[in-house]
Symmetry: D2
Subunit: 343 residues, 4 copies
């Protein structure tokens, strides 16, 4: 079988390990041949591809980024896309199947290609934020949590030295998993996530409680968190007419609000892109390698439209539809479990 | 409720995070009072304990080791032990329940104390090696894998520079999980685990295959691995009359055997105790904190004889008997999955 | 002798190691007694102090932050300050000498206290930015460079995956040492420092050259860098009427300018406070410990007004005046040495 | 000019950064052409070389090991060596000069090639152990110290948990720099180096003193340390007839001796090869890059027989003879400075 692989969407530690796992398994066990599409769906649409063999994937388990490049191109948007063109590109190049490694958008596109175009696609879930349903975790998330936690550890000592409140903004546009885990790991005094809006009064109550115990408050906030009443933010002139923070992100918005209400000097730090680049953690390397291996197994058994996923300690095959049916949000019992440690 | 906590057996990153999680939850939600027994069961038997409060556990999520100390004392061995003495010690000190954090030995003792003495004990599984059944993973294992993987990454560059074979011995007396995961993460060319004895011929075949591809072989071996025929080892005089390696461990035994058979300069490195000390990974901090919280919940609901465990993404309550009924060995399908990458 | 220690100014990894080195040497060799002033000069002015003994400094070599706390209080400003009050506070508490650990402001104040008030002060240089003259390096700088370099390593893989230009803003208000060293270590394609203003044309030329070679440009910029003509920036509306960047710092200013001129998607990341908190590097622990030891030696020999400093591999005693006489800027030959690697 | 580069002797983090620095400077500024000899002097003798250009050295500043490979071949030993053959190989391949990156043996050979054969060689000092004179530090040392320090940090928590004495064996065959710096950084209670033999009584006195203060002793020992009377060791049967430890190294020898005399459970850990492989620290990357750049400058100015070295903050050109004239041992005042912290 000749299999094309693509990586799509934002960078994520472990992408290369998936590619390596797939190529090594396919090459050695099934005698598959591989090509890599360059820059995600763009390479598919444009027929831009490179051969992938055993030698190409050498040492990739520990290499961050993706050797194939990535983009946010969607095969159903713009010119040249759509199932017909993709099938034609595959036919011309003798490609039997595709392994699409990506997030919600990529997997939805993959599913439509299968459903609407009968194209042979296997999905591999990729999400720093851990926002995909139908998989316990995906690769990249553990690395992101580790990096955010190390940052919190460092910021904490400075908070204590200066009796400051530190607001640490981590990734998580729609779900709060990175904030929840890095906050628990780093011993945060408040964790603010998109799923659970809070009032500025509640946040300041936690902050003041910490100060009253003689400590320096550390608040971890997902980029997608919002206050439960935006009037507060508006009255502070921190939000523009479109409800977006005027300066930077939510961390930059909260810091002056907390400082004004509590009198505690407050500083925001945005961890940013370092959460999604560089050497993957061992956990993510193992998971990504296993997902790559399983994706080739799924292709071998022609389970088009399926996605590989982690369930407990096992890698399983599920329907892409299961993964794209809804967000994997932080459930209340997980947030409440962590909230015991707040304040 | 007044609850005593003890940590027993070998050191493991996350012990302090369990203690912290338990104390914070019990103190804030249930109004529990806590004491810590010093040096495991020894402190129980001798009534050696210290009060544990919110202040004591400050900052513990990221601190390696155990503030309570540990030992390998077994409450059923030696003088002073047994259920009666322990119940008496608890009565004298007004202790209602115990949380015992430990491995197979500790949990078995805990179970006997419940079964034979009617003592109120909750177990928390602790195992660097990941050898306990009834929990997907336990804390400490992820940190150990991460440290071993970093070591493999470092050793690999030296192997390549000198065209050497590197044999990396990691922990795992009875099960090969650390070797399996760190070997997959580090891109090892052979992984040798207790569950799957191999012949020296097979090992050398992998090693030579790597060399023939122009690369430097990296072999990861669990300390508990043994060759499938010990004659080989005996004829090499590497084993003594009791079948133990004469010099150091299995890594030191294999290096000269591989060098002699393949002609490739071979060096063994034993990662050793650094796998079980120091700052826990974020993964282990989160897991340990959650287990500590759940242990107090289990005490609150008086589920004596139960153990907290990880199932998928959830922390659940199981019977200690389930955890101590058998080793959590690496199943064949997991080893075979990894073996595709060998050679 | 009874010696008071204070830490002043921004946080810096190694502060605690200085305290530990001083206390252990003084306690063991000279029989000194120590107190720590809390929150820098504020503690001196207010007589807020805690005893420091062998037990207090246990484990401090690897602990970030400062157990004494810090502030930006200046003894010559506000009420209650000035040499007379400080001498009175010392007399009342029986303090014979002070060790002041801080940057330019603290050392200048220390020098005035000696010169104008005849107060017994020894200085220890503290600067993340490495901007103090009269010492080869000071503690904290190596840790900051290491953290910035790790961040650059991570950001680079994302840059390559997305064919982006990454602008990394590091600390360095007046001098470019952190940018120079982390940029060299991380293989940056341009390094922008306060000492060497550049035109936006030159920066874009470097960036385009990198792109033309098929790579993703990485630009490291000190927070204190400015373009050599501010008209550029003004015309771009990135600067306000006071010549300050409108949004965030210089990185946020450069990113859209580079993107507009080169057509390469550009993203800024601000490393921020994580550069100055947390566990010090081994290099900084050794240096800080040695400086602490030497400060007590200088007190013992009553070299008031002197400062401990690193010269080559040796710790020496210099005049505080030498350190505060001018900034330790990046010399041209060092910048030009690095510039060979640009583009 | 056409310049050949070789790396020789044991692996050392930063070798690749030297190569990169040299090639980029030579290529861009002087229009030099480069080849790399494979596996050190062996490649020189055998004429085994590969072209090195800008593309080859991409990303090398952060890559451990050496892309050229290394060996312990000496050009003055065995067949094929000697100045005449090397000059002939250079003439045949049109090579004008050589940059030899290596330790004492390599630099001595380089010097003889210049002195006896009039060959154009520039030396770059490479030593994990920091045992070369005429340079303040060389690359690789800082990384080794950092790795050893991280290991000590991890081992310490286990020591405390189990009230054990931990003996940590680090590299340093003839000089104790790694032990001295990692021991100071890690807060060791005794540091044992080749330059300062100690009696087992003195060592146990330090160990017992630590125990009496309620702490767990950590002893850092260079592999080349020896007790000041070997009778002790002999009577313990730890040494064989050739005065070499019977089992493993000095750490394995000391552990049972300390345990027997003090009654404190004692464990040895050998950090081993992980000290010399993998990603270099930022410090080492900067230093190595600068040395590579300076080596090409020295070639350009035809300073044959010279070596690049670090003096304070500057890279200078010295005579190879200065570097090979004697070991860079730990001076007494540095050991005594650290010894204040023992016990």
């Amino acid at each position: 079988m000749k299999i094309g692989i693509l990586t799509s969407g934002g960078d994520c530690p472990g992408l290369n390990a998936v590619i390596r796992g797939a190529v090594l398994k396919g090459d050695r066990v099934y005698g598959d041949e591989f090509v890599g599409f360059r820059y995600g769906w763009r390479g598919v649409v444009e027929g831009d591809m490179v051969p992938l063999d055993r030698h190409t994937v050498r040492g990739l388990s520990r290499q961050g980024g993706t050797i194939l490049g990535s983009s946010r191109t969607n095969p159903f948007e713009g010119e040249g896309g759509g199932p017909e063109n993709i099938q034609r590109m595959m036919d011309v190049n003798g490609i039997d199947a595709m392994i699409a490694i990506g997030g919600e958008g990529t997997l939805t596109a993959a599913r439509r290609l299968v459903d609407e175009g009968g194209i042979n696609v296997i999905g591999v879930p990729k999400t720093i934020d851990n926002d995909l349903a139908a998989t316990d975790y995906s690769f990249g998330f553990d690395t992101a949590v580790e990096i955010a936690t190390e940052a919190i550890d460092r910021l904490r000592t400075t908070a204590e030295s200066h009796q400051r409140c530190m607001i640490v903004e981590v990734m998580g546009r729609h779900v709060g998993w990175i904030a929840l885990h890095s906050g628990m790991a780093g011993g945060a005094h408040a964790i603010l996530i998109p799923e659970r809006p809070q009032s500025i009064e509640q946040i300041c109550e936690w902050v003041l409680h910490v100060r009253d115990r003689g400590r320096a408050p550390v608040v971890v906030v997902s980029e997608g968190f919002h206050l439960d009443t935006m009037e507060e933010a508006h009255s502070h002139k921190g939000l523009d007419a479109f409800n977006r923070p005027r300066l930077g992100g939510i961390g930059e918005l909260l810091a002056p609000m907390i400082e004004e209400r509590t009198g505690i000097e407050s500083r925001a730090t945005v961890i940013g892109h370092i959460q999604r680049g560089g050497v993957p953690s061992a956990y993510d390397r193992v998971l990504a390698t296993r997902l790559g291996i399983a994706a080739v197994d799924a292709a071998q058994t022609r389970q088009w439209g399926s996605m590989v996923s982690l369930k407990g300690t096992d890698v399983e095959i599920v329907s892409i539809a299961d993964a794209t049916g809804g967000l994997n949000t932080v459930p209340d019992y997980r947030y409440d479990e962590a909230a015991v440690l707040f304040g």
